[in-house]
C-alpha cells in the first residue's frame, strides 16, 4: 500500500479538492483506495455525502479500541472507500499525545489495512501539530498545494527542511500550484518558472475554476461529475504525475 497525504500549514489552498479528485481517479484506474478525512471540518466526507461521524470518536480510533476497518464507509464509487471525519478529530493531538510512540501512531493504525488497499489518501487539516508529524511519519508522498506567491514558496522550503531533519522515515515531497489565477502576472510567472527549476514541483497545476468550487453543491468530485471538464483534465494530469512519483504501476495488480 502507498500512502499519499495532501498537506499544507495554510487552509483554503485546495487540499481537500486534490485529495478527493486524486482518490477518485486512482479508484477509476482500478486501485483499491481509502480516503481518510482527518479534518474535523469534514469537507471530504461531505463531498461524498457521508455523515461525519465515527463511533467512539477519534479517541477510540487512536487508542485502537475500535478497529479502523469498522469505521470505513463505501462511497458511491467502485474501489473507493472513505474513513469519515468526526468532530472529535479536533482533539486528535490530545489523543495522540496520550499514546506511546505518539508520532508513529497513525502509521501503526494503517497497518491492518495494507492488504485491503493499494492506496491510502490522507486529507489533513491545516496547521503544524502532532497530527502533522504523524502524517509525515506515515506518508510515502506529501502532496502540497501552493498558491503561486513568494511567501508560499518559502513555506515549501521550510517544510522541505523540516522533512530533511526527520531522523527516521522521510516522505517524498511533490508540490503543485493550486488556485492559479491566469489574470495575475505574478501567478503566471511563478507557476511557469518554478516547475522548470525544481523537481519537487509538479508540471501540472490546478487553476482557480468555478467547476472546482461547484463540487460542494453537487457533492461529488468534479472528475466524476464532469469528467470531460477542463478542471477534470487538470486533475488527471496531476494524478498521472503523482502516480509516477508514488511508483504505482500503471495497471493495478489483480485487476
Amino acid at each position: 500500500v502507498k500512502v499519499l497525504a495532501t498537506y499544507n500549514i495554510k487552509g483554503g489552498v485546495g487540499k481537500t479538492a486534490a485529495a478527493v479528485n486524486l482518490a477518485y481517479l486512482a479508484a477509476a484506474d482500478g486501485y483499491r483506495v481509502l480516503l481518510w478525512d482527518l479534518d474535523p471540518q469534514a469537507a471530504a466526507s461531505f463531498l461524498f455525502r457521508i455523515r461525519p461521524r465515527v463511533k467512539g470518536g477519534g479517541k477510540a480510533l487512536i487508542a485502537g479500541k475500535r478497529p479502523v476497518d469498522e469505521a470505513i464507509k463505501a462511497t458511491d464509487f467502485d474501489n473507493l472507500d472513505l474513513l469519515p471525519a468526526d468532530f472529535t478529530y479536533r482533539n486528535l493531538d490530545l489523543h495522540l499525545d496520550g499514546e506511546r510512540k505518539s508520532t508513529s501512531r497513525l502509521r501503526n493504525l494503517l497497518g491492518p489495512l495494507r492488504r485491503e488497499f493499494d492506496l491510502v489518501v490522507l486529507d489533513c487539516p491545516p496547521g503544524i501539530s502532532l497530527l502533522s508529524e504523524n502524517v509525515l511519519g506515515a506518508a510515502d508522498l506529501l502532496l502540497i498545494p501552493l498558491i503561486p506567491t513568494t511567501l508560499s514558496v518559502r513555506t515549501l522550503d521550510q517544510l522541505t527542511e523540516f522533512v530533511a531533519d526527520m531522523d527516521r522515515h522521510q516522505p517524498g515531497i511533490l508540490a503543485f500550484f493550486s488556485m492559479v489565477d491566469r489574470r495575475k502576472r505574478l501567478h503566471r510567472e511563478i507557476a511557469e518558472e518554478l516547475p522548470a527549476k525544481r523537481d519537487d514541483v509538479a508540471e501540472a497545476a490546478i487553476p482557480a475554476l468555478s467547476a472546482v468550487e461547484r463540487m460542494s453543491v453537487q457533492r461529488a468530485p468534479v472528475t466524476a461529475a464532469a469528467p470531460r471538464s477542463q478542471a477534470a483534465r487538470y486533475y488527471l494530469e496531476l494524478w498521472r504525475e503523482t502516480r509516477t512519483r508514488l511508483g504505482l504501476s500503471q495497471v493495478p495488480q489483480g485487476s
Binding site: 461524498f48 455525502r49 455523515r51 470505513i72 464507509k73 463505501a74 458511491d76 467502485d78 457533492r219
Partner: protein, 526 residues
C-alpha cells in the same frame, strides 16, 4: 457497476404484474425514508446449477452454481443461507458437464467439493438464464446505501419454466444497519415476500421437481395387512425404477456409482425373487430369475475393475519395497481392461435381450400391483416368517464354522447374511426404526468382516491371474510383478486379520441378545 456489497435479504415477488410495480415488476416502496432509482445497469447471466446424481451437495446443505456473464465464468459454492464457501474462476477453459472432481481446476473449491462428492460426477441439474437489473437505494443525504438487484430467471432444464422474480438487497460497506431497515420496509410491500428457498430450490420448484428426489435406498411404505404379493411387487417396482434410473449414466460411463447402484438394485431384485418369489404369480420368479442373473453377470467385470482402480491410490501408498512408478503398468493394464469391459457392458444394456427383460418385467409387475389380491398371505406375517427363516439359516451356517473350516464355509455364510440383510431392508417400513437399526448394526459388522475375508481372497486370486496375463502379453516388467506380489502379500495379511475377527463377531451376533432383537422385530411386524 457498484460492487463490494453483501447480501442482507432476499425476496420473491409473487405479484409481478402489480399495478404499483415499475417497468420490470419492481415494487414501489411507499412511506419509506429511502428512495430507489434504476441504474440502467442490466446484465444477462447464464447459470447452471450442479449436483451429483444422488444429490450429495443438496443433502450436505450446499449449492454449486456455474455462471457465465460477459465472458467471465465462475463456479461458486454457497451454504443454504447464501454464505459464500468457495469460488473458482473458470475463465481459462470452458468446462464440460458432467465433470468429475479431477476435471475441475485445483484450489479450495475443489478441496471442499471433493470431500462431499467423492467419486461422483457433477451433473447439470438446472440450466437457466437470468436477467438482472440493478437499482440504488438512497438515504436522506442522497447517499447510496444498498443495491437492489431484480432477477428474472427462465429455465431450459429440467423443463421450460419461469421462476418467480427475486430481489436481493445488498448493502454498501458501512451501511448494513440502514440496508436492514430498507429490507424491513420492502417486506411490508404487498406481493413482496421474504424468500424461504434458495434461487436453486425456487428454480427446481418452477420446473416441477424437488431436489433430493433420487435415492438408491429401498423407498417404499408397506403395511402389515396388505397382501404379500402386492408388497413384494411394490418393492420390486421400486428396485426396478432405481435400476432404470442408473442405466443411462452406466452406458455413458458418467461415474462409477451408476453401475454400482444398478448392480445393487439387480442383486436385491434377485434376492427378493429367490426368498419371496413364492407369493408372485406362478412361474414369474422362475422366468425372471435367470434373466436378472444374466444382467448381474453382465455388470460384474467392469465393477471388479472399478474396485481396483478406485482403490489404486491407497494400494500404491501402502507399498513398502516397491515404488508407485513400478506398479504403474498394472494401472495401465487395468485401465485398458476396463475400457473393454465397459464397451461390452454398454452393448449389453443396449441389447434386445435387455429391452425384452425390462418391458416384460415392467408389464408383469404392474399387472400384479393392479390385479385382484388373490388369497395369498398378509405382508406382516409373511415378512416375519421370511426374516426368521433367513436368520435361522445364518445361525446354522455360522454355527458350524471353526478355525479349521475351509474358506468356502465363510463364503456361504456371507451369502446367507446378505439374504437376511435384504429381507430386513425390503420390509424395513414394517419395523420400529430403533429395532431395525439395532438388528442391522450387528449384522453389518459381521458382513463387513466376511466381506473383507472374501474380497481379499478373490483379489489375491485375481492379482495372480492379472500377473499371468500381463506376463503372457509382455506388458509387465519384472518390477511390476514384484510390486503386485507385495500387494498380494498385503491382502493376505488383511484376510488373516478378518479371519481372526470372525469368531468374536459371530458369537456376538448369535448371542441371546441378538436373537431377542430379531424376535422383537418380527413379533411386532406380524
Amino acid at each position: 457497476l457498484l460492487s463490494a456489497v453483501r447480501e442482507v435479504a432476499e425476496f420473491v415477488l409473487d405479484r409481478p404484474g402489480d399495478a404499483h410495480a415499475q417497468g420490470d415488476g419492481f415494487p414501489q416502496i411507499s412511506g419509506s425514508r429511502f428512495k430507489v432509482a434504476a441504474t440502467g445497469q442490466s446484465r444477462t447471466v447464464r447459470r447452471i446449477w450442479l449436483d451429483t446424481f444422488d444429490w450429495r451437495l443438496f443433502r450436505a446443505g450446499v449449492t454449486l452454481e456455474y455462471t457465465a456473464a460477459r465472458g467471465a465464468r465462475e463456479l461458486v459454492l454457497t451454504a443454504r443461507d447464501g454464505e459464500l464457501i468457495a469460488e473458482q474462476s473458470m475463465s481459462t477453459g470452458r468446462p464440460r458437464w458432467p465433470a468429475r472432481i479431477e476435471q475441475l481446476p485445483a484450489g479450495p473449491l475443489r478441496e471442499h467439493l471433493s470431500a462431499v462428492i467423492g467419486v461422483r460426477a457433477l451433473l447439470p441439474v438446472v440450466r437457466a438464464t437470468s436477467v438482472q437489473n440493478k437499482r440504488r437505494a438512497f438515504n436522506a443525504d442522497d447517499k447510496t446505501i444498498a443495491i437492489l438487484t431484480t432477477e428474472r430467471t427462465t429455465l431450459t432444464q429440467p423443463a421450460k419454466a419461469t421462476a418467480p422474480p427475486r430481489v436481493t438487497v445488498g448493502h454498501l460497506r458501512g451501511y448494513q444497519t440502514q440496508a436492514f431497515k430498507l429490507a424491513d420496509a420492502l417486506a411490508e410491500v404487498p406481493g413482496v415476500m421474504r424468500a424461504d428457498q434458495t434461487a436453486f430450490e425456487a428454480a427446481m420448484r418452477a420446473a416441477g421437481r424437488r431436489p433430493g428426489d433420487y435415492t438408491s435406498k429401498i423407498n417404499v411404505r408397506l403395511s402389515a395387512s396388505m397382501p404379500a404379493a402386492r408388497a413384494v411387487c411394490t418393492v420390486l417396482t421400486s428396485l426396478f425404477s432405481t435400476a432404470q434410473a442408473n442405466v443411462p449414466g452406466t452406458i455413458r460411463d458418467v461415474d462409477t456409482e451408476f453401475l454400482h447402484d444398478l448392480r445393487i438394485a439387480v442383486r436385491r431384485t434377485r434376492s427378493v425373487l429367490k426368498l419371496a418369489g413364492s407369493v408372485l404369480p406362478a412361474g414369474m420368479a422362475d422366468r425372471y430369475g435367470p434373466e436378472f442373473k444374466w444382467l448381474g453377470d453382465l455388470t460384474t467385470p467392469t465393477r471388479d475393475l472399478d474396485v481396483y482402480l478406485i482403490g489404486y491410490p491407497a494400494m500404491a501408498s501402502k507399498l513398502m519395497a516397491a515404488t508407485e512408478p513400478e506398479l504403474r503398468p498394472f494401472h495401465e493394464y487395468l485401465t485398458r481392461q476396463r475400457a473393454t469391459a465397459q464397451r461390452q457392458l454398454a452393448r449389453g444394456l443396449r441389447s434386445a435381450r435387455f429391452a425384452t427383460l425390462t418391458t416384460g418385467w415392467s408389464r408383469d409387475l404392474k399387472q400384479v400391483v393392479s390385479g385382484s389380491p388373490g388369497r395369498g398371505p398378509a405382508t406382516g406375517r409373511f415378512a416375519a416368517g421370511r426374516i426368521r427363516k433367513a436368520h435361522q439359516r445364518v445361525l446354522r451356517a455360522g454355527g458350524v464354522i471353526d478355525a479349521s473350516s475351509p474358506p468356502q464355509a465363510l463364503h456361504d455364510l456371507r451369502k446367507r447374511c446378505k439374504e437376511l440383510r435384504y429381507m430386513l431392508e425390503v420390509f424395513a417400513s414394517l419395523h420400529d426404526p430403533g429395532d431395525q437399526w439395532r438388528a442391522v448394526k450387528e449384522l453389518k459388522a459381521l458382513q463387513d468382516c466376511l466381506g473383507e475375508f472374501q474380497d481379499t481372497e478373490v483379489q489375491q486370486a485375481e492379482l495372480r491371474a492379472f500377473a499371468r496375463k500381463m506376463v503372457a502379453e509382455a506388458s509387465a516388467p519384472a518390477e511390476t510383478v514384484l510390486a503386485m506380489g507385495e500387494i498380494a502379500a498385503g491382502l493376505a495379511v488383511r484376510q488373516r486379520a478378518a479371519r481372526g475377527d470372525f469368531a468374536g463377531l459371530f458369537t456376538s451376533f448369535a448371542s441371546a441378545h441378538g436373537q431377542a432383537r430379531i424376535d422383537a422385530l418380527t413379533r411386532a411386524a406380524s
